[in-house]
């Protein structure tokens, strides 16, 4: 299989798990992140030309169009884009600095929309493709201190539904995966009692793992998911049941 998949936020957590599973299934991966983590570097060594690391800061929105043009020129038309990169500042809104609100919305909302805009075009020409946006259960459930993050994820879910209607007839599906709390660096601040309580209250008595969520992404990329579009699949060990 030579299908090219572009993954953002690939150096850690869920993005890294997605890259690993993509490579195991024979996809070719363009892994975007600010820095090459040792884990991602290990994947590049293991899979050689199957994975290419692209160092980029997606909060530089003006750079997104030239970045996309260059990737298409160098690697050809992509089969899929996984918008995974995000920041999750927590803090009460009343004291959150405006620069943090801006930075969060730029990276979590504007960057994926612009990436999708420019990487969708070659998919239109191929009349085939997959866009997967990583949301969060926080888009639909409340959590103290995550209002701006929640707004950004709800924005992605709205974006997903309308875009799926726009590009469906071109054979492109657009979906969200909404993980629950996972033990990644992003949720480090949740350690301790809060995390234990989430585990205890989930039907499966555990948290979803990055591998659980990555497997859902892989399903949405597959031929078997060709009839799934405009929806959100929740992977949260039942926390929101």
């Amino acid at each position: 299989m030579n299908k090219l998949v572009i993954v953002t936020g690939a150096s850690r957590g869920l993005g890294l798990a997605i890259c690993r599973q993509l490579l195991q299934q024979g996809y070719t991966v363009l892994a975007l992140a600010r820095t090459l983590s040792s884990d991602l570097n290990a994947l590049t060594e293991q899979y050689g030309s199957g994975l290419t690391f692209v160092s980029v800061d997606l909060s530089d929105l003006d750079n997104i169009q030239p970045l996309c043009s260059e990737m298409i020129k160098q690697h050809g038309r992509p089969y899929a884009l996984i918008n995974n990169a995000a920041v999750g500042y927590d803090g009460v809104l009343a004291t959150m600095h405006n620069s943090e609100i801006n930075a969060l919305l730029n990276l979590n909302v504007q960057a994926p929309i612009l990436l999708t805009k420019y990487l969708l075009r070659p998919m239109l020409l191929n009349q085939s493709g997959r866009i997967i946006n990583i949301s969060s259960i926080i888009a639909r459930t409340g959590f103290n201190g995550l209002s701006v993050y929640a707004a950004s994820k709800a924005a992605l879910e709205g974006f997903t539904k309308s875009l799926s209607r726009e590009v469906g007839k071109a054979g492109i599906t657009v979906n969200c995966v909404a993980p629950g709390y996972m033990q990644t660096e992003m949720t480090n601040s949740l350690q301790g009692n809060k995390l234990e309580s989430i585990k205890r209250r989930s039907p499966l008595g555990r948290l979803a793992t990055p591998d659980d969520a990555a497997a859902t992404v892989l399903y949405l990329l597959s031929e078997q998911a060709a009839a799934v579009t405009g929806t959100t699949i929740t992977v949260d060990a039942g926390s929101t049941a």
């Binding site: 169009q65 043009s69 298409i72 075009r121 070659p122 239109l124 020409l125 009349q127 726009e166 590009v167 007839k169 071109a170």
Partner: protein, 85 residues
């Protein structure tokens, strides 16, 4: 190949992919929305021209511009190619 001819060829090519029936005689005055190509088809035309010519004049512009006729569309590409060279 002359730019207008190239755009006409690309237009015909994406119309087939987009399953759109173009009107018979497209002139400079033909209103794009009445050419038979739908809005997704125009997105494909811009995408294909970007691959072929290496430019996307609409993204390079500081303000949103939507040409209404085929002649205006060709003119925007002509100007962008001059600026790029």
């Amino acid at each position: 190949m002359e730019l207008e001819q190239r755009i006409r060829q690309t237009l015909a090519q994406v119309a087939i992919i987009a399953n759109c029936q173009l009107t018979d005689n497209i002139t400079d005055d033909t209103v794009l929305l009445q050419s038979g190509l739908d809005s997704l088809g125009f997105a494909m035309l811009v995408a294909q021209l970007e691959e072929d010519l290496g430019i996307d004049p609409f993204s390079q512009m500081q303000i949103a511009v939507y040409p209404s006729t085929f002649g205006e569309f060709v003119s925007i590409y002509r100007q962008a190619l001059v600026q790029a060279s």
